[in-house]
Amino acid sequence: MAHIPDGVLSAPVLVGGALATALAVGYATRKLDYERLPQAAVLAAAFFVASLVTVPVGPSSVHLLLNGLMGVLLGWAAVPAVLVALLMQAVFFGYGGLLVLGVNAFNIALPALLCGLLIAPRLNRTQGRNTFIWGAIAGAAGVAVTGLLLCLSLLLSSPDYLPAGQVILFTYLPLLLVEAFVTGATLQFIQRVAPELLNRGHL
């Protein structure tokens, strides 16, 4: 539900999203040297695989988005990683579209980046329950901000999308709950098993 298809958004929104993503990807790839490329690539692949997990919630089920987690672990490198994952999802699964790729990437990468810049530094210093809580906040924030940005993209294109946007935002609530829980558990796992992964001053 985080992927807007082509043909929905207005031209200014498409161009704006593409420009913003291009700038962010350009900056992030300049920061990412070739030595770190395997790490970012393998983790991007891992996130892609993790997004195939179907998690039951209530009577239905959701696919994980994991952009909060991605931001926390990858920092700026999450931006190109999100773009690569979205391209694969679009071309091979038919999620989203081509011209809209910039907007979709922006909607998912910006919250990831925010989590990377604001929450990751706190995770360096936490343990146990606090790791879970900060992880849950990152997971929830990733989903919530993506949902809001998605609605914003729709509304900026046409005010007629308001009711649809409200419905979509509503469907984000179960995902937000699950994502918070899963991201918390994942970060707690990493904190206990491989804490050096959270200490990513290098990225």
């Binding site: 891992a46 081509l98 469907t171 829980f181």
Partner: protein
């Protein structure tokens, strides 16, 4: 398992498999541009027809296509179901006290047609490529080098990690794990994702070590056999013209040509 990504590149006719993958990338982008700029249902329907013909020509497995579309139509449904009621205009029918407008129905129809045309075209033209071919094509189209290699490395390890993930899931099932809507399930998934990430990080370190062992000093290379041929140019031109047809027709230029009279 590999069919998870590529939509049956083996099934394609030889003439299609021999084409430079750049042809498909450019064609897919052109198709998306045309589709997005059309706003008449009839013009869009003819473009969609063209795309479906192309899918048949490239022997896209229909069952797989429908499977992919199913996931996609959920979003489209939410988006378009409301439009007849939120777009103001001439009332067409009433439902539970809300009035649907003619303009709203047409908008919904246009959006549905556009989105489906682009998605089916994308799956037909690009989804039938090996992901590696797509990466090479993006590289040859001068996308930033690091981004291209990030894509190619991701694709390479996607399959390795997918195998790891599947084996872990199988083992969980063997230990009587049944996903439910509860904390135990969510926590288990969190750990599963964590384990995948930790192992991925370790693997990426081994990959970097292997790269260094072979003299890596901050450069990656692309070596592919793609040669742009005259046939590619011809096919691209043909596709551009065919896809532009509905657009020319919608803007009135097509009818203008033979008669010479602009209405």
């Amino acid at each position: 398992m590999n069919s998870l990504l590529s939509l049956g590149s083996e099934r394609q006719p030889t003439w299609a498999r021999k084409r430079d993958p750049r042809l498909r990338v450019v064609a897919a982008l052109w198709l998306a541009l045309v589709a997005v700029s059309l706003s008449q249902p009839l013009a869009l329907a003819s473009l969609l027809l063209l795309v479906l013909l192309l899918a048949g020509l490239l022997r896209l497995p229909w069952s797989l296509l429908f499977q992919r579309l199913l996931a996609f139509e959920g979003f489209m449904l939410v988006l378009t179901l409301m439009l007849p009621f939120s777009v103001a205009g001439d009332p067409l029918f009433q439902l539970a006290g809300f009035s649907a407008s003619e303009q709203g129905v047409e908008r919904a129809l246009v959006i549905l047609l556009r989105a489906n045309t682009v998605v089916i075209g994308m799956l037909t033209l690009l989804g039938t490529l090996e992901p590696e071919q797509l990466g090479h094509a993006l590289g040859r189209l001068k996308l930033p080098d690091k981004l291209v290699h990030l894509f190619l490395l991701s694709v390479r390890y996607l399959f390795v990690l997918l195998d790891e993930y599947r084996r872990l899931r199988t083992a969980m099932r063997a230990r009587a794990f049944t996903p439910r809507s509860d904390r135990h399930t969510w926590r288990s998934y969190g750990w599963l994702v964590g384990m995948l990430l930790v192992r991925s990080m370790e693997r990426s370190q081994r990959v970097l070590a292997a790269m260094k062992c072979r003299g890596f000093h901050g450069r990656l290379y692309l070596l592919d056999n793609n040669r742009w041929q005259l046939t590619d140019s011809g096919l691209l031109l043909l596709f551009i013209l065919l896809a532009a047809g509905p657009w020319l027709w919608e803007s009135g230029m097509l009818t203008a040509l033979p008669g010479g009279a602009i209405p």
